[in-house]
Amino acid sequence: MRLLVVEDDRDAADYIVRAFREVGHVADQAPDGEEGLALALDRQYDVLIVDRMLPKRDGLSVIGELRAKGVETPVLILSALGQVDDRVKGLRAGGDDYLPKPYSFSELLARVEVLARRRGGREDTVYRVADLELDRLSHRVTRGEDEIVLQPREFRLLEYLMKHAGQVVTRTMLLENVWDYHFDPQTNVIDVHISRLRSKIDKGFSQPLLHTIRGAGYMIRDGAR
């Protein structure tokens, strides 16, 4: 995956770029809005990571310019402003995701990977992971021969996890995308929902599919591979 990090704080930018390289991605960096815009227009990237407040050209204006020029590369906005209305503003300006600072790298990585994959436009009607199958039209979930009965919210949780099968999904991402809450619920309520879901889809099967990724979140994957 090829990334562009537009961030004026040198330390922060170096840290992100280094961390992405460690996990095997290629990352360029730009210290201001003008250069970021030029690079994003010039080269092909999978995801752009743009700080909101940048010298020379504001982050939102960079995104607006890119979208106006028909560049549809997914953009993740980084911002020290973490309030609900700031997030809405960022997404309205053409950003695809919004991450308030300070963030953990695992959260950033998980979101960037989901964004990069989204480009493929994977909107199948049936999701499959190993012998687990989720039909988005009939709302049926089966594992092997057994039908699994899920509550509506459990279904949406599993749907989101399976849509991003093989990718780490963080608790905040689940809270935002499955429940549409953008606040910190203090206690990790998500964990309990996950363990409930897990007991329904993994219990009694030799091969677990729903995995906890320590310090990051959860992932559904075919354990055999």
Binding site: Q83, P102, S104, Y181, Q186, V189, V192, G215
Partner: protein, 472 residues
């Protein structure tokens, strides 16, 4: 600036001067008009009399000739308060009348004239003014009939003098009144200025004087006081936040630092370092969470988030949160359910209200399960309520746990206050403060009530959203 100079410069004084000028102008024109009209009236009267006399005299002349005319005029001049008469020949020789001397040429001009004259009986006396008409009689004689103007002038003078006096009086009284009003206004304004100066100097508890008369100064004072109240509250909140940040964030930061140092000093091998770093990250996350909560409280209390209001169904928020927290509650052996009357629409910031209610539910789950089983045999239960009550929407979270003793109830809403027995539970201690701040942002309140047993936390929010304080 001298006190007098200050007085002259007040708006009240300037306004008084302007009014004074306008008023004086009015008075002057009114009196002028009056005087002018009086004068015209007298003049009209004179001309009427004179015309009538001339008509009569010329008739007499036509009937009886000059002799009769002279005779009649002689008779008339003997009556007191008579008109002025003069009959001359064509060449100007005096034939009859009570007028002694008139300026030369007056008798030559036929028609109306205003002229000086001397009376016959007093040829050396002072000159009088007269309004007279010279009439050409057939046969070359000239007849002058007129009236003395002294009366008219005297009346005019009286009116004019009265006019000047009243204008002078208006000016004197006006200036005095201006001084009085200006002094009064100035005193009130000075009091306000003085108070604002002390407030600016840092004493935020100062309040503007309110006389209680309900005049515009009182209204200004009351509104400014309300503003000061708000500012003081905000500053106090701000100070509290910084104090709390200092006290309560320093502790975990120190712990964090100590752990890292210790790991560096005593760590043996990668496993130790790894564990220490992991703890460091976890503690940093907790710090960030606390910090975010503090920021959010500050923002909610400053009213900054009040611009993002929309209508939403509180009952739905309650159901959504019930669904989110249900597995957690179940895991802790607590029954969680919603009691709602159906759609309970209110205007507010949905996200913040959700978060506030989530905090209350989170708290309830943490504490409700405790002791309830021991205290009463009933199983632990939490009810999330959404009810309309008049103009209010009550979002409540009621548990049957140990509750909060009366004495502690108001204290727990303060930031960071966690009752002793709850120190063992994780959490920043900001949940209730946040809920309270959100309630205030919406113009409502967070109330903690006794649920007998247990605690009932109620977010009482006005249905129509926050309102600006009514101007007094």
């Amino acid at each position: 600036m001298t006190a007098l100079g200050k007085l002259f410069r007040t708006t009240a004084f300037k306004l008084t001067l302007v009014y004074l000028f306008v008023f004086a102008l009015f008075a002057a024109s009114l009196l002028g008009y009056f005087a002018w009209n009086t004068r015209r009236l007298i003049t009209d009267q004179i001309t009427g009399t004179v015309d009538a006399e001339i008509t009569g005299l010329s008739e007499q002349y036509n009937q009886g000739g000059i002799r009769r005319l002279v005779f009649i005029i002689d008779a008339r001049t003997r009556r007191p308060g008579s008109s002025l008469y003069l009959v001359t020949t064509f060449s100007g020789d005096r034939l009859a009348g009570n007028v002694g001397i008139v300026p030369e040429g007056v008798m030559q001009r036929v028609g109306w004239t205003e002229t000086a004259y001397r009376r016959l009986e007093d040829p050396e006396g002072h000159e009088h003014e007269a309004l007279a008409r010279v009439f050409q009689l057939p046969g070359g004689f000239r007849l002058l009939v007129g009236r003395d103007l002294e009366e008219r002038e005297r009346l005019f003078d009286v009116v004019m003098t009265a006019g000047w006096w009243s204008i002078a009086l208006v000016i004197v009284l006006g200036i005095a009144g201006g001084f009085f009003v200006a002094r009064r206004v100035l005193r009130r304004v000075d009091a306000i200025t003085e108070t604002s100066r002390t407030i600016m100097a840092g004493d935020l508890s100062g309040r503007l004087p309110v006389a209680g008369s309900g005049d515009e100064f009182d209204r200004l004072g009351v509104n400014l006081n309300a503003m000061l109240e708000r500012i003081e509250g905000l500053i106090k909140g701000f100070k509290e936040v910084s104090d709390n940040i200092a006290h309560d964030l320093k502790t975990p930061l120190t712990r964090l630092r100590n752990r890292s140092e210790e790991a560096l000093r005593t760590g043996k091998g990668e496993a130790d370092y790894r564990a220490a770093l992991q703890t460091t990250i976890e503690e940093s996350d907790d710090l960030i969470r606390t910090f975010n909560a503090l920021l959010l409280i500050a923002r909610a209390e400053s009213g900054e988030a009040s611009t993002h209001m929309s209508e939403f169904d509180a009952a739905e928020v309650a159901r959504g949160l019930c669904e989110l927290y249900d597995p957690l509650a179940e895991e802790k052996g607590v029954m969680l359910r919603v009691e709602a009357d159906g759609p309970t629409v209110l205007r507010g910031n949905r996200e913040l209200v959700s978060q506030a209610l989530a905090n209350l539910v989170d708290n309830a789950i943490k504490y409700a399960g405790k002791g309830s089983a021991a205290a009463n045999s009933a199983s632990a239960e939490i009810v999330i309520g959404a009810q309309s009550e008049g103009e209010q929407v009550r979002l409540s979270v009621a548990d049957n746990g140990p509750g909060i003793p009366d004495a502690d109830r108001s204290r727990v809403v303060e930031r960071f206050v966690r009752l002793e027995q709850s120190r063992s539970e994780p959490g920043s201690g900001l949940g209730l403060s946040l809920a309270s701040a959100v309630a205030h942002l919406h113009g409502g309140d967070l109330k903690l009530e006794d649920n007998r047993p247990g605690l009932k936390a109620v977010l009482a929010l006005p249905r129509s959203g926050p309102r600006l304080p009514n101007p007094a």
